[in-house]
Symmetry: C2
């Protein structure tokens, strides 16, 4: 079992832990201390050792922070977590704050009108984050002060940091040796060295993978890339066995994490650091000249090479087979009305495990009926809902395979189709198809294509309050920068980028619809005017859409042709990979509309 | 006759005039002098008195500039004018320069490696323009020096500045009194005064119109708006008769243009000036504090009020009737193969004149066959082409009426339809329809919608190298800022804005297709989720598209329904306004596909 369904909240520990923190505040001469959800690696998931916000306050959401003061403690959460925070924290000592509507700077100035000293752990915040708060506090007399971590000081049984074995990511999947990557990127730095603090960048650069963090096959580490291609890697040496150390070779020096600060402070010459992702502590520690620059791995990592693409395609065939077996199982079992959301999540994990998945790529979102309308819903034992015939079921899930990462959403009929879902389902599918079929001139960003996915919904006065797509790593993090299909994404789409294509529609208290495939940016095949070099998406995900929910008369001829061709290809690709019963089910599911 | 078809080029005068300018250069101690196409008002059209670039070099394009030096003279033109410039200037003394690929700063540094003094007339350039060149020259030792206009000094028979009578724009068309506008905008300035240098802003603010400049019903003037609503108007007083002066009232003081500098330099307190549109001379003249801020009239002018919208609608009905009579006339006459492009332009003017047009709103673009592929083509006696059966004809035109401004493009079959035009014609029409039908959440800009117009072309590997739409004034300039439908337009679309919707496709040497209606941004009618406040376009242009050029099987059901409903409405609205023969023709043209 990968996913854990226990309801983790423990509001009752919030008050005594806050009291202990306040003692530390007094001892440190601080008026406030900031406890973010993030760890030093700024990822989406944190380990138990880094779950400081949850340990202190009880709040388990994936984003937010607490500002603890002597007389109050605000828990800042965004729109996704307004309800959840009230269930998880002790409201007699913690005050939920609507963020980003209320900014920490504004809140601090109200709470500390005479000025004051606000501590923070510089390893848990990026320079960009601290600068933003500092700008807001400008002229207020409130000081931001680097401090040891006060939560760690009061957390007696804090779990040890993760120390899972690292492993080599085979060249057959990586497509380029680490030495080649290191020398290529090193030579292009333009400065003697760059600091890397994102674990997926480091894993990509070194062709290694790990298991420190749930759902993401990464190794918690920091690194310094030198212009000559050498790397100093800071991580618990116990993660690296002799074979792996030998494979990394003499140009990669493994040093304990504790040495990172010493080595940083001894670096001379200009050093490149990414203000958007590196902890502020990196800047505070560096003695010499620094150059603000983006993490040099981000763009090469996003533009997958042919081996990475082949791995993603192979993983998607296995994942497609698992999904088809799962969808067949849902159809056999759900209409009886005995399944719960947890049953569904567990069964899906089983089908994927049987196909060689090493983990799920994120906690499955499985929402029956009205739970489908909660965009970031994660079922637990308390919220677990029966999958009721006559409702629809939204399942957004993915897996990690040795060669690739998947992410797919399907929305399913359970028994009789609720008629009010047909039109929005069809409009969401039209949006998914519009992105899948898109062809566009080089130079455009995700922002320039976002409207194509939404126009069919807009035409009916509908929309969705999330982006249309995110980047996806190759056997790495399922949410990977920098490109997105979103109103706010200005990064040009480039060949090799893999993105999700996932429009949706949510009717609060009633149902949710989302349909998601992964797509690969590539050179568009020649067509039309030869001087126009265009890009297009190639589809990676091969799993049928539930056509029982469709209003086919709302599809254009082109959309219908795309859907029928897609289903024919699903049947050809996946049919041979599944057993006879699932194959027969698939043939029916893939019938032309 | 509004439009002039004489081929205006006179390359032979270029050399002696350049020689005269060079004498002035030497006398002034300058190494170079910049001669822009623009005048002090930065508009699209210039009067004869301001046509300095054409007078000096022979180049008559609507954008560009010359940098004249002692040993060379570059004429900088963009992609539209690469061919035309070579026909119009004496190539033995002028060197065409590809702009913006080659920037003036780069070119100057190559030509003046030891540094030098580059003169320019600060009334002919905005601050933003000069700052851009200055940034490029930073560290080169080349100085930019404000200078009297050296072209005026060598232009003995320079025409007198325009002095057409100004007239009141009736309140029935303006919808808000000038006093109300002046007080409303003055109160919102936040500073004691703002300098206005755009004639259409001044005309809009004062509810006046004029005839100084071809195609644009504006008065050449500058103005200062005070926070209390008073305006100092700088213009030739002969343009204002006693009635108009009385109507403007005591809060509008008319002063000779020559007084502008004195009054500017005497202004105290912070004064707002628009760096993007005001001549640099305004900044150089102001003694007190200046605040860079956008022209305060631009946004209120763009968001038309109900009276302005009603005027635009009424003008579009008259213009629609003229266009239908014209299209009927083309169909009766063109298939014989005896018409030329000039005949077509002249006939169209006649139909509009008969409907009360006071001018055309820009020089008509009428391109037969391959001339249709030249996006900014203007026919003259030398290029005039026979409208040949078997070719298609592109006509992009518009008119000024007392109550509104029009702009419409139709692409027409002449005799037998060239089969290779059907698919691109249909795809362009699909783009026009996609914008016309668009509905979108508040807050989006033209950039966010641009892809909707292009997607049908992109799908076939086609595209067009111009924006999808521009703002249009109400009985003002046909190209009006700030909003556009374009990849580079970040201004949110807002109710009351009027834009063109004009995708196209151009096959060089063969044919050009463009289809253009004007559309009005308004609150979308309630539909779908009530909490989503959306905007939509309302159509203003009622003229049939030439369905003989259509490949109807390429339209979706929704597109076909839109087209048929549009044509039914054209017939209902325009049929009663034209004679029996044209009405019968219109009924045929509006038949459902």
């Amino acid at each position: 079992m990968y996913q854990d369904f226990s309801a983790k909240t423990s509001p009752e520990t919030g008050a005594p832990r806050l009291a202990a923190l306040r003692e530390r505040l007094a001892l440190s001469g601080l008026d406030a201390f900031v406890v973010p959800r993030a760890d030093a690696w700024q990822g989406e998931y944190v380990t138990e050792a880094d779950a400081r916000l949850a340990w202190l306050t009880g709040f388990t959401g994936s984003a937010g922070f607490c500002i603890a003061m002597r007389d109050r403690a605000g828990v800042f959460v965004d729109g996704r977590y307004r309800v959840q925070v009230r269930a998880e924290v002790d409201l007699s000592v913690y005050t939920p704050v609507n963020w980003p509507e209320t900014q920490p700077g504004t809140w601090l100035m109200e709470a500390l009108p005479q000025g004051g000293r606000v501590g923070f752990d510089p390893w848990m915040h990026t320079r960009a984050q601290i600068e933003e708060i500092a700008r807001a506090l400008d002229g207020s007399g409130i000081e931001l002060i680097e401090s040891p971590n006060l939560v760690d000081a009061i957390w007696p049984d804090r779990p040890a940091p993760a120390c899972a074995p690292a492993r080599l990511h085979p060249l057959a999947f990586a497509g380029e040796s680490s030495a080649d990557k290191r020398r290529r990127l090193g030579a292009a730095l333009g400065v003697p060295a760059a600091v890397l603090t994102l674990p997926d960048s480091i894993c990509w650069l070194l062709n290694i993978r790990g298991a420190d963090v749930p759902r993401n096959p990464i190794v918690q580490a920091f690194a310094i890339l030198h212009a000559d291609g050498r790397v100093a890697l800071f991580a618990d040496p116990r993660k690296f066995d002799a074979d792996l150390t030998a494979a990394l070779g003499p140009e990669v020096e493994i040093l304990p994490l504790e040495r990172f600060e010493d080595v940083l402070s001894a670096l001379s010459g200009p050093v490149m650091v990414d203000p958007a992702t590196a902890p502020l502590a990196v800047w505070s520690t560096l003695d010499g000249e620094t150059v603000a620059g983006g993490d040099p791995c981000i763009l090469p990592k996003a533009q997958k090479n042919p081996a990475e693409i082949a791995g993603m395609e192979a993983a998607h065939l296995r994942d497609g087979a698992a999904m088809v077996e799962f969808l067949h199982w849902v159809d056999m079992n759900a209409p009886q009305g005995t399944l719960t959301e947890i049953d569904v999540v567990t069964a899906l994990e089983g089908f994927r495990r049987a196909r060689g998945a090493t983990d799920i790529s994120f906690d499955t979102i499985c929402g029956a009926g009205p739970n489908g309308a909660i965009v970031h819903y994660r079922v637990n034992e308390r919220t677990n809902r029966r999958v009721t015939p006559g409702e629809i079921l939204l399942v957004d899930s993915g897996a990690q395979y040795p060669d690739g990462t998947t992410d797919i959403t399907r929305t399913l009929a359970v028994g009789p189709v609720p008629e009010e879902t047909r039109e929005p389902f069809t409009r969401v599918l039209r949006g998914t198809i519009a992105i899948a079929r898109a062809r566009w001139p080089r130079g455009l960003s995700g922002r320039d294509l976002d409207a194509l996915a939404r126009a069919p919904l807009w035409a009916a006065g509908l929309d969705y309050d999330h982006g249309t797509g995110h980047g996806v790593g190759a056997a790495l993090c399922v949410h990977e920068g920098p490109a997105r299909i979103s109103r706010i994404s200005e990064i040009p789409l480039a060949p090799g980028m893999i993105l999700s294509d996932e429009p949706g529609y949510y009717r609060e208290g009633a149902f949710g619809i989302r349909l998601e495939n992964l797509v690969l940016v590539e050179e568009a095949p020649p067509l039309g005017d030869a001087h126009r070099r265009m890009l297009a998406f190639r589809n990676l995900t091969w799993v049928p859409f539930d056509t029982r929910l469709l209003a086919p008369e709302l599809l254009s001829g082109e959309e219908r042709a795309w859907l029928n061709a897609y289903h024919a290809e699903v049947l050809t690709r996946i049919g041979p990979l599944v057993g006879a019963e699932a194959a027969a089910w698939l043939a029916t599911a893939c019938r032309a509309v």
